[in-house]
């Protein structure tokens, strides 16, 4: 960023003063409660590591944690593959295309997650419109199991996550000089090589940012696996919910939250090492 001459005579702390209300809200509504929940991992029912020992000794907890990572890891490439061409069209298409696509990407965003998930249930169920259509046109003989399994979770999750890959990708692609690929073509690179050698490496920051957003958001998903998944797709978020609302076990919930947060923190620091967080933040 270029330094601009300052025209105002406002003191240096003025911007911080304006930030103060939101910082206070974050502190009271986010940092404190999350901190208290995490603290309970070490304090309830009594101080010590017992909650983590419990998680370690019950394979079901580790299984759910592992499921969570696997499902999130499966959703990420799907979302990236679907989002990449959309972001490309937004970044390099006409203003009209960009407006239309931005609108289409945001519309689901403005619809309640619960509404969308229930709508997906209707669409994907055994006798739902999708299976009926596929059977009527003769593509399948029996209804496909599209819901209460991994397919259901991925279909439901990916559509909610697409904006999170499209916008970082778009912001990264927007920065790519549109004459680079034509330049590569004139130098003898075919379209595939021009993409792999020039365009893809330059879109990598957006790709990494999008992947991180998707993966980390997915780790905490709860409504979608609950509505669209089966027992084998139980994710940590559901487990935390069960621990608190059904078992009243704040300590175990805190320990699970702690692990979830730790995975997120490790991932973000790895990403920071690889591409720099400024790629995510810009």
């Amino acid at each position: 960023m270029e330094a601009r001459p300052s025209h105002s005579r406002a003191p240096d702390w003025a911007p911080w003063a304006l930030l103060l209300p939101s910082l206070l809200v974050m502190l009271v509504a986010f940092v404190l409660p999350v901190g208290m929940l995490l603290a309970r991992a070490f304090t309830q029912p009594e101080p010590g590591w017992q909650n983590f020992v419990l998680l370690w000794e019950r394979p079901v907890y580790l299984q759910v944690l592992w499921n969570t990572v696997l499902i999130s890891a499966a959703a990420t490439p799907v979302a990236l593959l679907l989002g990449y061409p959309v972001a490309h069209a937004m970044a390099h298409g006409s203003a009209r295309t960009r407006r239309l696509l931005t609108f289409l990407v945001l519309v689901p965003f403005w619809t309640s997650l619960l509404v969308r998930s229930f709508a997906t249930v209707i669409l994907l169920q055994r006798r739902g419109p999708l299976n009926t259509l596929l059977m009527n046109i003769g593509l399948i003989d029996a209804p496909l199991p599209l819901i209460y399994n991994l397919t259901g979770v991925l279909l439901g999750a990916v559509q909610t996550l697409l904006p999170f890959v499209i916008f970082p990708l778009y912001s990264s692609m927007k920065r790519i000089d549109p004459s680079l690929v034509p330049a590569a073509l004139t130098m003898g690179a075919g379209p595939v090589r021009a993409f792999l050698r020039v365009y893809l490496p330059l879109s990598l920051p957006g790709l990494m940012a999008g992947a991180t957003f998707v993966f980390i958001s997915m780790l905490g998903y709860f409504v979608i696996p609950a509505l669209l998944g089966g027992p084998r797709q139980t994710m940590v978020g559901q487990l935390i919910q069960d621990q608190i609302s059904q078992l009243g076990s704040w300590g175990v919930a805190g320990a699970l939250s702690f692990i979830l947060l730790a995975i997120t923190a490790i991932l973000l620091s790895v990403l920071n090492k690889l591409v720099g967080l400024k790629a995510v933040a810009r």
Partner: protein, 362 residues
């Protein structure tokens, strides 16, 4: 496909490109000879860049044929056309070092590694950047980046080098320096160059021939002196160099000259268009071809202002009809004339230095 002349490298035949109902390029035909430096000159939106893009294969003509090195390239994608291209904003790959950038086209051609290394070094030396190979493009100045782009477009010795306003993003002194350098490379490397610019002085100094584009069509193709001394259309007369225009009534024709009446004064201009006596024509005269006298024959005018240019003086004149003209005079001639703003003067010129164009058109 046969080419009419053995020395022809590129031929365009009736090229058209339509955007909606607007013809961006309309029936363009031309030939580029082996080793020639041909420039497309025109205002923005005149179709010159679109035509270049079609030669590169980055855009497809709606009609017409492009023949490069004896074969029609209608169905040949850019990466099989044996061309090099330099873009206005350099288009260097920002994630590769200068060396990797210049090596890229060789890599695409699977040039053996040792040979490629040698060619890259030679190309970087050729553009005066032998020690910049390990830098990243963003660490170079605009002028240096464009030199790297030149090296990259020339390192594989393509049959034809295309340049799309390559100096448009640089400041004036750097632009003039690189003009000389591109001319030197063209001469030394004996490259065939197709160059696009909207800068008429750049076109005049660099080109063997210039094609002047206007509204998707070629107005005139010729050497710089052809265009400057014998513009074929009023547009060329106005776009290439500075020109004074005035409308005049044609009185009659004698051999190669028309007798015309400019603001009541009988004058002679060269006749290259068929114009009937009594009709109106547009007369064009270059500022440096105008002679100024206090009295005698010639078009009456008032000297409005006298601008000091160091080695020359610019006289701002107002004709009787209100047209503002300029005349250019070398310093000593201007001083000898002893003219001052406010003086009444008479303008004259030699018949072959004034062109007459049909009035109305351009």
């Amino acid at each position: 496909m046969t080419t009419p002349n053995p020395g022809t490298l590129l031929e365009l035949r009736g090229i058209r490109k339509q955007y909606g109902r607007h013809a961006a390029v309309d029936d363009v035909s031309l030939e580029l000879r082996q080793g020639e430096f041909l420039t497309f000159l025109g205002p923005s939106g005149s179709g010159k860049t679109t035509t270049l893009m079609m030669v590169a294969g980055l855009q497809q003509p709606d009609d017409g044929a492009i023949i490069l090195a004896g074969r029609s390239v209608d169905r040949v994608p850019p990466y099989r056309r044996d061309i090099g291209m330099v873009f206005q904003h350099y288009a260097l790959f920002p994630h590769m070092t200068v060396r990797r950038n210049v090596a890229f086209p060789l890599e695409m051609r699977s040039t053996p590694k040792a040979e490629a290394e040698r060619l890259v070094s030679a190309a970087l030396a050729m553009v005066g950047l032998p020690d910049h190979g390990d830098r990243m493009p963003r660490q170079l100045s605009g002028g240096q980046q464009q030199r790297v782009a030149l090296a990259r477009a020339m390192v594989y010795r393509p049959a034809l080098l295309l340049m799309d306003e390559p100096l448009g993003a640089l400041d004036k002194s750097l632009r003039e320096q690189l003009q000389m350098e591109i001319k030197r490379l063209h001469r030394e490397q004996r490259m065939s160059v197709l160059y696009v610019t909207h800068d008429q002085s750049e076109a005049l100094t660099m080109s063997d021939r210039i094609a002047v584009f206007n509204e998707g069509r070629i107005e005139q193709i010729g050497t710089p002196s052809d265009l400057y001394e014998r513009p074929a259309t009023r547009f060329v007369a106005g776009f290439v160099g500075e020109t004074n225009f005035v409308s005049a009534v044609v009185l009659g024709q004698e051999d190669n000259t028309y007798r015309v009446s400019v603001a009541g004064a009988p004058m002679a201009v060269s006749a290259r268009f068929v114009t009937a006596p009594g009709s109106t024509a547009m007369i064009a005269v270059r500022p440096e071809r105008i002679q100024l006298r206090r009295d005698g024959e010639g078009v009456p005018a008032e000297l409005v202002d006298l601008i000091y240019l160091g080695n020359a003086r610019r006289f701002v004149l107002r004709l009787a009809g209100g047209e503002e003209w300029t005349a250019l005079m070398q310093a000593d001639a201007a001083e000898e004339s002893g003219l001052h703003p406010g003086d009444a003067v008479r303008l004259s010129w030699q018949a072959h230095h004034a062109a007459a164009f049909p009035a109305g058109g351009h």
